[in-house]
């Protein structure tokens, strides 16, 4: 690698080339760019690699550490496998946007200063919006717009915070902070918007299921996990994160239980899983941060696997609702098997990657004697098995026979799923390679007889609960209201009402003015006001003070005023 060249640039160049090339050459770009990036990620040494002057500060766009390389590695891995999954089915615009989006995530991973972090953060917001829009439906267009508004708002909040922090500390460096004043709170809130924390969690479940079957795979990986990395770097041990994380964990379970849209169930469970990580960052010990990082790594793989499985079903059947599918295991055995592996992994079943990573977080809570947190996380583990571990595969691949007999996954989709399914099991059986990549030394032993039995009881008996309570979980053609109801309905109606009131006020004022004009001295009236009361456009041409001004004239006057102001100010 050329010294000081950001690994993210390879994916940005890839995004550009995807647009410029055709057929096999394009496929080569889609698959080779992430692999080159992976190689470049591992060439980044510890510490500051490159600096760049900016105003009176110095930017550090590339800073290496084991934590940063860990996240960049899984982002590159995701870009490769996602590309393999999507390259024959997705539109080239989506593939290019996804490549740039992954580049943004890798840029964030190595950002050593807040300004660089912010720039890559906004690049991600931009290109992830494009991925949502590539869903191509009117629903995707509306969801993409709401998604963009939410992320631009989050970006503004983050920027306000970053400027405040720089003013206070005098340094741009990404370093641990505490949420103690306005600026640091703004940074924290800006990061939490991207982590889908309350009360804005709804953006995630709103937009991801509207993307194309391939687009939601890319979306699941980067935005929330970049936020997790930024939280680990900026707010390790921030106590408020424990509560935020627990809310997200429970929110994800409850809403996923109520949901009927297959991919929205999985979107809610992203919030649930990120909740585990946010909670771990709040605990903040070395073991907890290791757990958060390891869980993020494992989560990206099994969540992408789940969305690949769901995406394949959507791609083959065109159906998105649990009520429309079922019994698909007959003709889609590979997709079903990979979906089940992903479902077991997300539930933290022993011998899967979820078990070797998520239990670290519970263990960290226990070591800090956080009894309530530990117990709630255990209940949540049971709940994950309930809403994602069984509910997803059961309603899609089993339950009633929908009569659908679609073909199994195309070869590239099947191969991508097989790779990630194998990784889920590999990291569950032999987690040591992942443990070696973690930021702190690992002394944790995942497999101890009594603990494995405890988790098997917890999970299998929640499985029993699922099948006994099935009558209570009948699928309905509904959505569930979330906090976003406040702005999508209440605020929208208030806005419409306010607009209506302004219109009425204007009509009233115009009527009053027309009455007043009659009282004026005739020459004054001709200067100010219309000759013909019924035609306002006519009046605009005739009244000296009432007519439209050309924009050029207005600009000239503003320039004159500005020069005058400058003259007065400088003298």
């Amino acid at each position: 690698m050329i010294e000081g060249l950001p690994p993210a640039l390879i994916l940005f160049a890839g995004a550009l080339l995807i647009g410029l090339t055709r057929s096999h050459l394009r496929t080569a770009v889609i698959l080779v760019a992430p692999l080159l990036t992976l190689w470049a990620v591992w060439q980044v040494p510890d510490g500051t690699v490159a600096t760049l002057p900016f105003l009176s500060y110095e930017l550090t766009p590339i800073v290496g550490s084991s934590l940063r390389r860990l996240f960049a590695t899984v982002f590159a891995l995701m870009a490769f496998t996602g590309g393999l999954f999507a390259f024959r089915q997705a539109r080239w615009q989506e593939l290019a946007a996804a490549s740039a989006y992954a580049g943004g995530a890798i840029g964030c991973s190595f950002a050593g200063d807040l300004v660089t972090l912010f720039v890559y953060w906004e690049i991600m917001a931009l290109f992830s919006t494009l991925v949502v829009l590539c869903g191509g439906t009117p629903g995707a267009r509306r969801a993409g717009f709401r998604y963009a508004v939410m992320h631009l708002l989050g970006g503004v909040i983050l920027m306000v915070g970053i400027v405040g922090v720089i003013m206070q500390t005098g340094t741009l460096a990404v370093q641990p902070l505490r949420a103690v004043d306005f600026a640091t709170w703004m940074v924290l809130i800006g990061l939490l918007v991207n982590a889908a924390a309350p009360p804005v969690s709804a953006w995630l479940a709103d937009s991801y299921p509207e993307a194309s079957p391939t687009g939601s795979v890319f979306l699941s990986a980067f935005t929330t996990k970049t936020a997790v990395l930024a939280l680990i770097l900026l707010f390790p041990g921030e106590p408020v994160l424990i509560g935020v994380g627990l809310y997200m964990v429970m929110y994800g379970i409850i809403y996923a239980l109520l949901e009927n849209n297959v991919r929205r169930i999985l979107a809610y469970s992203i919030v649930n899983q990120v909740g585990f990580m946010v909670c771990a960052i709040g605990i903040g010990t070395e073991m907890a941060l290791n757990g958060a990082a390891a869980h993020a790594f494992a989560h990206i793989i099994y969540k992408a696997l789940l969305l690949m499985s769901a995406g394949t079903v959507v791609y083959r059947t065109g159906k998105t609702l649990c009520t429309d599918v079922g019994g698909l295991f007959r003709t889609m055995p590979l997709t079903a098997a990979c979906g089940i592996v992903g479902a077991l992994a997300i539930s933290g079943f022993p011998l899967t990657s979820g078990f070797t990573t998520k239990t670290m977080i519970s263990e960290a809570a226990a070591m800090e004697h956080l009894g309530l947190v530990y117990m709630l996380l255990a209940a949540a583990s049971a709940g994950v098995f309930l809403h994602a571990g069984i509910k997803f595969p059961w309603f899609v691949f089993f339950q009633k026979d929908s009569g659908l007999r679609p073909k199994d996954a195309p070869w590239n989709m099947g191969l991508a799923m097989a790779i990630f399914a194998a990784l889920c099991i590999l990291l569950g059986v032999y987690p040591q390679p992942l443990y070696d990549l973690l930021p702190y030394p690992v002394t944790y032993v995942p497999y101890k007889g009594a603990k494995v039995v405890y988790y098997l009881q917890l999970l299998l008996f929640s499985g029993l609960a699922f099948f006994l309570l099935l009558p209570l979980m009948r699928r309905t053609l509904t959505i569930s209201l979330d906090w976003d109801w406040l702005w999508r309905v209440v605020l929208a109606r208030a806005g419409a009402a306010g607009y209506g009131a302004l219109g009425a006020l204007r009509t009233w004022l115009e009527a009053r003015l027309r009455g007043l004009r009659g009282l004026l001295h005739p020459p004054t009236r001709s200067l100010l006001a219309p000759k013909d009361d019924d035609d306002v456009a006519e009046s605009a041409r005739d009244g000296l003070l009432a007519r439209d001004w050309a924009i050029g004239a207005a600009a000239l006057w503003i320039a004159v005023l500005f020069i005058g102001y400058m003259a007065v100010y400088l003298l």
């Binding site: 629903g139 109520l258 226990a366 049971a382 026979d401 039995v453 929640s462 309905t476 309905v489």
Partner: protein, 88 residues
């Protein structure tokens, strides 16, 4: 699909009965095996015999009921937001 024998092995009533029996056997096994492995508790209560089984079942029961209860308040027809969206 009139004859259940024609359908996949997994969905025949006899197989489902068999799968339930296997499942119950595994459940009993995970509880029984704690006599050998002992328990792994951090806070006393979670070191009780078969705590994982009871806690897993009960927390799922509570979560399903909580979701059901919240559903009465939060559920809307799935075209709820689209009604106002207009024809763009």
């Amino acid at each position: 699909m009139t004859n259940p024998k024609d359908d996949h092995w997994l969905v025949r009533p006899a197989s489902i009965r068999l799968l339930w029996l296997i499942f119950i056997a595994i459940l009993l096994l995970t509880v029984g095996v704690q006599f050998l492995t002992g328990t792994d508790g951090h806070f006393g209560i979670d070191g009780w015999y078969a705590f994982g089984a009871v806690y897993g079942f009960l927390s799922c029961l509570i979560m399903v009921l909580a979701a059901k209860g919240l559903g009465f308040v939060l559920k809307r027809p799935d075209d709820y937001y689209d009604k106002d969206a207009g024809d763009d």
